[in-house]
Symmetry: C2
Subunit: 288 residues, 2 copies
């Protein structure tokens, strides 16, 4: 059984990026600059943004963190977005989600200039992805494709089954895995809450991706022997044995799955760290 | 076995549109106006455009046909597109495909203003579709959804298998059938030329869509008893019994399939006529 070590892979990519930044500096180019807007003080969101900023430091990118109060109005936030759109020193930026309930997330995301939208959430990127044109790709599906690439997992002609049709993971991943490209050319089945007899479908998967946000939803009997299992879930569950009283776990019953799968991503340390590497890669691309 | 009569359904929709135009005229609004650009004189393309113009007349839309020579330069064609973008009398327009080989189709399609892009080929529409946002939807997948709607075919929880991943049929149809909406909520499997053991997958389909352009590719043994079969193929094959020496046929072996399926679209007279109705519907929407 191969452990698909997202943490080590992410760090390897970050080291490659660090060297590329040094090369760029040598020829007189600027450091790439990633900015992040965060609204309110949700601890999880702050932690995620903190990881991104720290990763920027690690690879030698400039970074800025714009912290805005929870009660900021939508038009004020849009003005902040436009300021970053117009700031020639910023190559790419993200608006950390979720936003407060009084905001329309789509309005904000569509205000980001596509050339700086390194999260790839703008409809123009979703469209280019769907049409097979170059685009920024959301970090989670991009990270999964990159992990398959780095572990040289063949996908052409394989049956990939994705559980979860979200617009930031399941749906773009279905497009990436089915397109005629490297780590594509899969037969792709997209499953979701309305899917009937899910286990009969997941048991057909050569590559099984769980992206539903339900701890241990995928059990060993749902996995075809020898399948590659990608666990996108990051769920916090109670655990008395931990000091904090809780721990992170995936959508897959890992102990169960590792008896059956040929390869699997752990949680934490699988898909999660890959997303940071992909965000940095997109930022480097935006700065070129 | 139910014959899914696209021709009759298309005419019924066109009659609804005709009445809606009359209502609009009564309250002092203009007739919707569809324009079409055609480059060169390919007979099939001319016939398709001719059908569209004739359908405009039938429902009371204004229409314009802009005929351009085969050797027109790309920048000249773009100027024609921009003229239509800026023409306040034109609500929507199409550029008939395929374009001559010296043109980059994407460059032309992306020059069409999204508000007038009633074919829905612009990346912004593909993106909005992928994200579940309102958009113009390419006529063929839209016509299939409409046909399912008109025949009250339930889709929620059903397994839809699509053969063919093109950006104008298979891929957008996969997005439409999988999204959380009316005539959506299917488990969707997208198959293509790299798919292995295709019959074992198509035999699982409650709804089977063939969009590959290979005459009689789908045989009866590939169809689950009781399945709904949608045939998108329009292939011209030799037929000595016809005066012309040829006839149109679909991707499905119709005689074979009608023994097994619960419902099926004929070719011609199935999906084809629906595309015209959907183009008119989009034009009406563009004019609102």
């Amino acid at each position: 059984m191969t452990l698909l070590d997202g943490k080590a892979t992410s760090l390897a990519i970050q080291e490659e990026l660090r060297l590329e930044v040094l090369e760029r500096l040598k020829i007189g180019q600027d450091r790439p600059h990633l900015a992040a807007i965060i609204v309110g003080d949700d601890p999880a969101s702050r932690a995620y943004v903190g990881h991104k900023i720290k990763a920027c430091e690690r690879v030698g990118f400039d970074s800025s963190l714009i912290e805005l109060p929870l009660n900021i109005r939508e038009d004020e936030l849009i003005r902040e977005v436009e300021a970053l759109n117009n700031d020639v020193n910023v190559d790419g930026f993200i608006v950390q989600l979720p936003l407060p309930e009084h905001m329309n997330e789509q309005t904000i995301l569509q205000a980001i200039h596509p050339d700086k939208d390194v999260d790839g959430f703008h409809p123009i990127h979703a469209g280019n992805l769907s049409l097979g044109l170059p685009s920024f790709i959301p970090a989670t599906p991009a990270g999964i494709i990159e992990l398959l690439e780095r572990y040289d997992i063949q996908t052409s002609g394989k049956h990939a089954v994705i559980i979860g049709r979200s617009s930031i993971v399941g749906t773009p991943l279905a497009l990436l895995l089915s397109r005629n490209a490297s780590r594509g050319n899969c037969t792709v089945t997209l499953c979701h809450s309305r899917t009937q007899d899910l286990p009969s479908i997941t048991r057909q998967a050569d590559i099984l991706i769980a992206a539903i946000g339900k701890p241990h939803f995928v059990t060993g009997d749902m996995i075809k022997p020898g399948a590659v299992v990608i666990d996108v879930g990051i769920n916090r569950i109670l655990d008395d044995s931990k000091k904090s009283g809780s721990r992170l776990t995936g959508d897959v019953d890992y102990q169960d799955a590792m008896q059956v799968a040929s390869a699997i991503t752990p949680v934490p340390g699988g898909v999660g760290p890959m997303t940071i590497a992909m965000l940095l890669k997109s930022t480097l691309q935006a700065s070129a």
